[in-house]
Amino acid sequence: MSDVLNNLVASPQTPGTKHYTPFAATDDVNAQADRRIAQYPPDRKRSAVLPLLHIVQHEFGFISSDAIDWIAGRLGIEPIKVLEVVTFYPGLRQTAPGKYHIRVCRTLSCAMGGSYELMEKLCELTKADLSKMDPHHHPIVVSPCGTWSVEFAECLASCGTAPVCLVNDDFHEGLAPEKASDLLKQYND
């Protein structure tokens, strides 16, 4: 493979890597995949690419090149067709987040409610480097200890209870910036 492609599938280590086990096509993972693939017409297996990516990300924290090859094999498509999906969607990651991944909504109603200040506060508390947060590409910033990672998200469809965020799969609303430390305390272990 060319360097360009190698870079596209590489998953550099982050402080969060220690919280995740490397990808392995276990019986459980294969069984989950079978159930998802069965949801689509037999000749339309490619439709299961997102569901399979979700299984991988949920179990292993991010999408590695091994996982891409496994999905391609399971669906009978070329790995590049999996990769083009991975690189498009903001919700799919190629590097390990922290143990707790926080997504703060930055869109209008939340911004009016103080979500940028909330993000500043969270970065201060978790020591995640705010300056690495390019406001356009929303990259994930992992705290040096690896417990936390933060990212901006676009409108999470709860604008009436702004500002809001997701911590892994948990939704939190009405998060004035001064509530940042209480939020983190719920996950401290």
């Binding site: 949801q39 017409p41 339309r44 490619r46 439709s47 299961a48 690419v49 997102l50 569901p51 990516l53 979700h54 669906l75 498509i77 067709k81 083009e84 999906v85 498009f88 969607y89 903001p90 919700g91 799919l92 997504r103 930055r106 869109t107 209008l108 109603s109 911004a111 009016m112 406001p135 356009h136 590409h137 929303h138 998200a153 676009e154 409108c155 999470l156 469809a157 709860s158 604008c159 009436g160 209870t161 702004a162 997701l166 799969d169 939704f171």
Partner: protein, 469 residues
């Protein structure tokens, strides 16, 4: 409805009419099949399965229901677009992407009343002849996806899904398909591409109207969550009776989501056109925050054109024409369109006099620049250029001519792209310049004219004017 109690502090406002949100925040309510059935749930499905499928579509046409996802297209008419001599499988897709900023209604249906949606979907599948349907849920609703999976399993168990539903001979299956955080998956053809396992690049219409060439190039009906829930109530009431709710051409109820600078933001289900902007903002939402006054409102999701609160609008033509203040505008599809904006997705975003419009526009431009799928040059490049110009505006390094440049970029996107995202990203810019030009100009400075905004810019300037450097 008098026997229904709502959670303290979450009672509906007296001006509301709770049809779709009847069970939201209800005391003793949970998303289980048991609770839903105890409340008379799935009786409309039982009834619908005894009807002629065409008659269901006719009821939906008679109801006047217009899509609640954004475009307000009549639902029954859309269903009628499936080619009559079609021999391919037909699919139904529920659009639960809910990604238009300012919109947060589908969230509560999915989390609190999933069976209402499933009942509406099975009836709709029966009407259009679909045996397989998908609910496309945005990835940021992990809990909703989970609740839906559980509700679908319950329905399957109770023979409300699957083979020979309730002994009617009709087979139907519904699955959940989760997105992965991209706004463009809300656009129906982008959604279809995503469901096919590809990048969600929207398809060009014509020829790719989903009702004729949708999922797997088969006829496909895409409807919003709220629209599909209404179908159940249309069957219960009859199309004719349903159409008496709301106002002519703007029938039924709809959920309005209010966010931003009001005392009581939240979701309010109202009869379409029976409430004015003023009644919504002052009476239902408690008015502006103390010591503040309303400045501007985006009435239908972030893509809708912003309106000034002190403006007046000429509505109607000829003898019927009248001039209405912003606060006297009834909340319906046609009036808001006549006033130069749109009812869109029902997301009302309110800004008071403490807000800088350059900052508001910059926030929205960041959203659109991030979310453009990148297929069409005007949208991909233009959305980022617009963001960069408003970045400078907010930073105080913009020149007056930048406002004209911004305007011309917007008009070069609008109407020149594959999908309606082109309008979605350019309308906010066009409207902001139209309504608040003076304020935007006041944040620019002549002295910024010609300064370099990047290293490339600077190099270019030196190259073009070597003697001055």
């Amino acid at each position: 409805m008098s026997d229904i109690q709502y959670i303290h502090g979450k009672q509906p406002h007296p001006r509301e009419y709770r049809l779709i949100f009847r069970n939201v925040d209800r005391v003793g309510w949970d998303p289980s099949l048991h609770t839903y059935r105890n409340d008379g749930g799935y009786e409309q499905l039982r009834h619908a399965l005894t009807m002629d499928p065409k008659a269901i579509t006719d009821e939906v046409k008679a109801s006047g229901l217009r899509g609640r996802g954004g475009a307000g297209f009549p639902t029954g008419v859309k269903w009628g677009f499936i080619p009559p001599n079609n021999t391919k499988p037909v699919y139904l897709i529920c659009n639960a992407d809910e990604s238009e900023p300012g919109t947060f209604k589908d969230r509560y249906i999915l989390h609190q009343d999933p069976h209402q949606l499933i009942e509406g979907m099975v009836i709709s599948c029966f009407a259009v002849g679909a045996k397989l349907a998908y609910i496309y849920v945005r990835e940021e609703f992990p809990e909703a996806a989970h609740i839906l999976e559980r509700a679908l399993a319950e329905a399957r168990e109770a023979n409300l899904l699957g083979h020979n539903i309730l002994g009617s001979g009709f087979d139907c299956e519904i699955h959940v398909h989760r997105g992965a955080g991209a706004y463009i998956c809300g656009e129906e053809t982008g959604l279809i591409e995503s469901l096919e396992g590809k990048r969600p690049y929207p398809r060009i219409k014509p020829p790719y109207f989903p009702a004729a060439m949708g999922l797997y190039m088969c006829p496909t009906i895409v409807n919003n969550v709220e629209s599909l829930c209404h179908v159940k109530h249309i069957i219960r009431m009859g199309g004719e009776e349903y159409s008496k709710l709301g106002t002519p051409r703007n029938t039924g109820t709809r959920i309005v989501c209010v966010s931003g600078d009001v005392k009581k933001p939240g979701y309010y289900e109202i009869e379409v056109g029976k409430l004015t902007m003023g009644e919504l903002l002052h009476e239902v939402c408690g008015g502006p925050k103390d010591g503040r006054s309303f400045k501007a409102v985006i009435p239908g999701g972030s893509s809708a054109k912003i309106m000034r609160c002190e403006e007046s609008f000429k509505i109607g033509k000829g003898d019927d024409a009248k001039t209405l203040s912003f606060y006297d505008l009834p909340l319906d599809f046609d009036t808001l369109a006549a006033a130069g904006s749109m009812a869109g997705s029902g997301g009302v975003i309110v800004m008071d006099d403490s807000r800088r419009m350059s900052w508001v526009l910059n926030n929205l431009n960041k959203f659109y620049a991030h979310e453009s799928c990148g297929q069409c040059t005007p949208c991909r490049e233009g959305s980022t250029w617009m963001r960069k110009i408003t970045d400078r505006l907010v930073a105080g390094t913009a020149a007056p001519s930048d406002i004209d440049t911004l305007n011309s970029i917007a008009y070069q996107i609008d109407g020149k792209t594959i999908c309606a995202f082109g309008e979605a990203c350019s309308w906010p810019v066009e409207a902001m310049i139209d309504k608040f030009r003076d304020e935007l100009i006041s944040e620019t400075s002549e002295s910024n004219e010609g300064i370099a905004h990047s290293a490339e810019n600077e190099a270019q300037r030196r190259f073009l004017q070597p003697s001055q450097s």
